[in-house]
């Protein structure tokens, strides 16, 4: 471990940074008292935040950024003339251990360019995980990228030591993927996803029959789609996500606003800035699917295949559906309360608890944490708070809500200029 390692780490961290997954959630791995590390259940721990505001939970690094493929949207494609480096197995292991012991990270997120052949690369990825677990008795989090084209045996080997595995779809529609990455197709993505899923399900089956079944990717899998590198619509993206979430082992779909890394390639759009607002809207839509019982088709319907950039997708849905409002706070079922703009999951739960004790009025609601400035157009609670959307019009409410919006009020609003 020397200064040379430092230079390699710089290159390989920068090479890995466009993969946005950072989560360290989904597993509980206890320290058995002999090793180092544990993984706490539920939400993971973010240890730092980079200058771009993104969370740093894992050491996210590539084993190598040499690659034999030439995917148009990727900074590491073989036709790019960029500094290349390769870390050795022991370097990755040592950096992970030393960072972990200083409480810098929750664990490792390892990906790699494809060198020689997929199996050669996958084998080294699996080796690192194995060394961490067996030699260093490391109980922290390990997220491994599965290399497209790697054999089932090697995916299974990696899965024994990993908490989570992922294969990125990158481009939602196969047609677009083939255009930008002619060496890839959806099979090369869905096949390794299938290996992971089958491994997890097999492990669950075995648990019913046997006592000591080795773990297999207990944190499930995740994937990522690049937003704005292809002409695919938000509806395409969300329908793909929703199909992915129907896989029992799929935990998270990430969205990565395309950063113009290869401007010379005319197959790609020339973007001055990554489409951050659109990316943010997709995360909000994803959130609605996972926690608010919305369906992809509702969020981006056929008439509106792209998300409204001016308002968040929940408000967008409400403005398109004035007929379901106002919602009666004291009587409506939980699912309807969740649909009210300005009411989050936490407040909705507090409302259904509190209304058992007394009739709730608007002052209770604001104390509970409801954003009344928004919610008031969509609810009734036995007093006149504002003319509801049903009494006025969606256009009127939209005008009021978008005029009023300022950055300080809405933390999800990204701070940058639309111009």
């Amino acid at each position: 471990m020397t200064e040379a390692t430092l230079e390699k780490l710089k290159i390989l961290a920068a090479a890995a940074k466009y993969d946005v997954s950072c989560s360290s959630s989904g597993t509980v791995r206890r320290n058995d008292g002999k090793g180092v590390g544990n993984t706490v259940g539920g939400v993971g721990i973010c240890h730092s935040f980079a200058a771009d505001g993104r969370c740093i939970a894992l050491l996210k690094v590539m084993l190598t950024n040499y690659c034999m493929y030439d995917c148009a949207y990727c900074i590491n494609r073989r036709s790019n003339d960029i500094p290349r480096a390769t870390l050795s197995v022991s370097e990755v292991v040592d950096i992970t251990m030393e960072f972990y012991r200083r409480n810098y990270i929750e664990g490792l997120f390892l990906s790699s360019g494809v060198v020689r052949n997929p199996d050669y690369t996958m084998e080294r990825i699996a080796r690192i995980a194995k060394d961490l677990r067996l030699i260093h008795r490391f109980n922290g989090y390990i997220h491994l990228k599965s290399i497209p084209g790697a054999s089932r045996e090697l995916v299974n080997e990696a899965g024994r030591y990993a908490d989570r595995m992922s294969v990125n779809i990158e481009i939602p529609r196969e047609q677009s993927l083939k255009y930008l990455a002619p060496e890839k197709d959806h099979k090369s993505v869905y096949e390794p996803m299938g290996f992971i899923r089958q491994g997890v399900l097999q492990c669950q089956e075995d648990k019913k029959k046997m006592r000591h079944v080795p773990r297999f990717v207990p944190g499930g899998q995740s994937t990522q789609m690049i937003v704005g590198a292809s002409p695919d619509t938000d509806r395409d993206i969300l329908l793909t996500s929703s199909a992915l979430y129907s896989m029992p082992t799929m935990r998270r779909v990430y969205y990565s606003g395309y950063v113009s890394v290869n401007q010379y390639d005319s197959r790609l759009p020339a973007l001055k800035q990554p489409p951050l607002v659109r990316e943010n809207r997709l995360y909000q839509a994803d959130w609605l699917m996972r926690f608010y019982q919305f369906k992809a088709e509702e969020i981006a319907d056929e008439g509106n295949p792209n998300l409204d950039l001016e308002v968040d997708p929940k408000l967008g849905w409400a403005l398109r559906h004035p007929e379901v409002f106002p919602v009666d706070i004291n009587r409506a079922p939980y699912e309807m309360i969740l649909r009210v703009p300005g009411i989050g999951v936490k407040s909705a739960a507090l409302i259904v608890s509190a209304r058992r004790y007394r009739h709730l009025n608007s002052s209770h609601l604001s104390k509970i944490g409801v954003a009344m400035k928004r919610a008031k157009y969509f609810i009734t609670c036995g007093e006149l708070v504002a003319p509801s959307i049903a009494d006025t019009s969606p256009e009127y409410v939209r005008r009021l809500l978008t005029a009023r919006k300022n950055r300080a009020e809405n933390p999800l609003q990204l701070s940058f200029d639309f111009s």
Binding site: F49, L59, Y357
Partner: protein, 256 residues
């Protein structure tokens, strides 16, 4: 206006609840020792902390609210909000007098809501310790971290570290409250360090007592944090929001 003063302890709070029942009073303020008296008041009662009284209130509380609500109450009690003791007194008073249905989920009651809110603030700070403690390795193998949390939450967080780093001796020291924990690889002990060496003043190990490889790993970490940021999406506002600036002085990646 009826004013109670108490010693600021949790037992003192429970004793105040006991007194208010015994004296059939509803205090309008419950002041910690450093709280200042208003210009005018009708009555000032000094609560004597008494483990017999507080024990009786606590035992009653165990029958009327859930374990998680009691845990929320004790967490919330660590807040710095000077209004909270009175709200906590009201919460406890309502809980011990209500019959049948538990009050802990009545979020239309300001006292119930205050317990929830302050508990979230305090636990948020405890969680920030799990996030932002940074160890530096000393030449003798001990890992050292200095912290300055806004609430006294180190006791909540320290077991996490003893569990996670069970084979690694460490010291985590709260500079504001001047105590910390020392873990020697087997046992966790509360300690007060009287030395005023460089590391106790600054929170940083000096070159002489640093492990020979410590500098390299700090440099690797700083380089990593820099390289992982996407320059096209700089967002310092979000960075500060999620990683409060008050933590930066002991964060390895924010130094130099």
């Amino acid at each position: 206006m009826i004013i109670y003063r108490f010693d600021g302890s949790f037992d003192g709070l429970l004793s105040a609840v006991f007194d208010s029942f015994a004296r059939r009073e509803k205090p309008d303020a419950l002041l910690a020792p450093d709280g200042s008296l208003p210009l005018f008041y009708d009555l000032l009662h000094q609560v004597e902390t008494d483990s017999d009284k507080s024990g009786r209130v606590w035992r009653k509380l165990t029958k009327v609210i859930s374990a998680s609500a009691r845990a929320a109450l004790t967490s919330a009690f660590l807040t710095d909000n000077p209004e909270f003791p009175l709200l906590a007194l009201r919460f406890i008073s309502r809980a011990v007098t209500s019959s049948g249905v538990s009050v802990e989920t009545d979020f239309s009651d300001p006292a119930v809501l205050a317990v929830l809110k302050e508990c979230r603030r305090v636990r948020g700070e405890a969680h920030r310790l799990l996030q932002f403690v940074r160890f530096q390795k000393a030449a003798d193998g001990t890992y050292f971290a200095m912290i300055e949390p806004i609430f006294d939450v180190l006791p909540f967080a320290v077991n996490h570290f003893a569990d996670r780093f069970s084979d690694q001796p460490f010291i985590i020291y709260d500079r504001l409250r001047d105590y910390g924990y020392h873990y020697d690889g087997t046992e966790l002990k509360r300690v007060v360090i009287s030395s005023d060496g460089y590391h106790m003043q600054t929170g940083l190990l000096s070159e002489e007592i640093m492990h020979p490889q410590e500098r390299l790993f700090q440099d690797l970490w700083r380089a990593y944090v820099k390289s992982t940021a996407i320059m096209e999406r700089l967002n310092p506002r979000k960075q500060r929001q999620d990683m409060p600036v008050r933590y930066w002085k002991y964060l390895t990646e924010m130094q130099k």
